[in-house]
Symmetry: C2
Subunit: 187 residues, 2 copies
């Protein structure tokens, strides 16, 4: 009954489940503590052994990099979906609202973590490139349709939104001035 396949599958599913749990808890603790998040606490809260934690993430920075990559990839996917599912200006607005809710403590981590993992093939410093490219496609479509000002550069705009003051945010992390920016983008 027990073929190699049936023996391997549950292991893989377990490994994936552990990885997902560690990543989810890692994201929570990163949002709460920033780059100094208590690393082994991630395993404890995820109810996963320390050995499993270290097998998936040799260092805290590997975990942080994986959390950032996941968030950036989700945002890239969201941009691709919005590109085909709604009007260009609505897509830009909805996507920038999502981007604006990236937890404050995630910001500025990419460069630091990317540096410490410079020898890693999955360097986090390049992790946000797909997200930036996907957002650029949204902006350029909206500009082609004359729904967004021509003088706006997508990557610069992300810098402006990311710089909105931390103190002026609602409980869900949205800046109370994101509406001013979105209104200001219109032609």
């Amino acid at each position: 009954v027990s073929t190699p396949e049936t023996r391997i599958r549950p292991q893989r599913a377990d490994a994936q489940r552990n990885y997902d749990a560690l990543l989810a808890i890692g994201a929570d603790l990163l949002a709460e503590h920033g780059a100094n998040l208590p690393f082994e606490e991630v395993a404890r809260v995820a109810v996963v052994g320390k050995g499993t934690l270290y097998r998936h993430f040799p260092t805290r920075d590997h975990l942080i990099a994986a959390v950032l990559r996941q968030r950036f990839d989700q945002l890239a996917d969201e941009a691709d979906e919005l590109l085909i599912s709604t009007s260009p200006s609505n897509a830009v607005n909805m996507w920038l609202r999502s981007f604006d809710r990236i937890p404050e403590r995630f910001r500025g981590l990419s460069a630091r973590v990317g540096e410490s993992l410079a020898d890693d093939s999955s360097a986090v410093s390049t992790a946000c490139i797909p997200m930036k490219e996907a957002f650029a496609r949204l902006i350029h479509k909206a500009q082609a349709d004359q729904q967004v000002r021509d003088d706006v550069d997508p990557v610069e705009l992300l810098g402006v939104v990311a710089a909105l003051p931390a103190g002026l945010r609602d409980e869900d992390g949205s800046s109370r001035y994101i509406d001013v920016i979105l209104r200001g983008l219109r032609t």
Copy 2:
């Protein structure tokens, strides 16, 4: 011919001239070097003796405080003039463009310098209050005339404008995204 008055007047005029020259050079060097500006260099460039420099400004922080106070007071005066000379929305736009051109290096200095001069009666920490109050009058008039969104708070808005990224500025110090903010303020 030489009355006490004629003897005193040139001295006062000289003192004022020296003070103004030190303040102007101080503003230039502060914009260039930030809080670590070379203090005695101010006297050299202004062609004023070191003794005179130290008589007007006992420490570098006293000079920085005076430069900041002067800039904030100029902006307060400009707001008061705009309040009566143009439309509320135009006044808000013109004034925010001036505020946006405050040199990058001046930002964040108020708190630090204010702290070091806490025993000084002319504490710089309160120096920007008249400017904030004058801008609030502009915003509230524009809101009463329904030319600016109701959900904008004047002091918060200054925080948003001051946070516009340093890297996205033209040669005159204007943010290339101030237009997005100004457009976004409209009702």
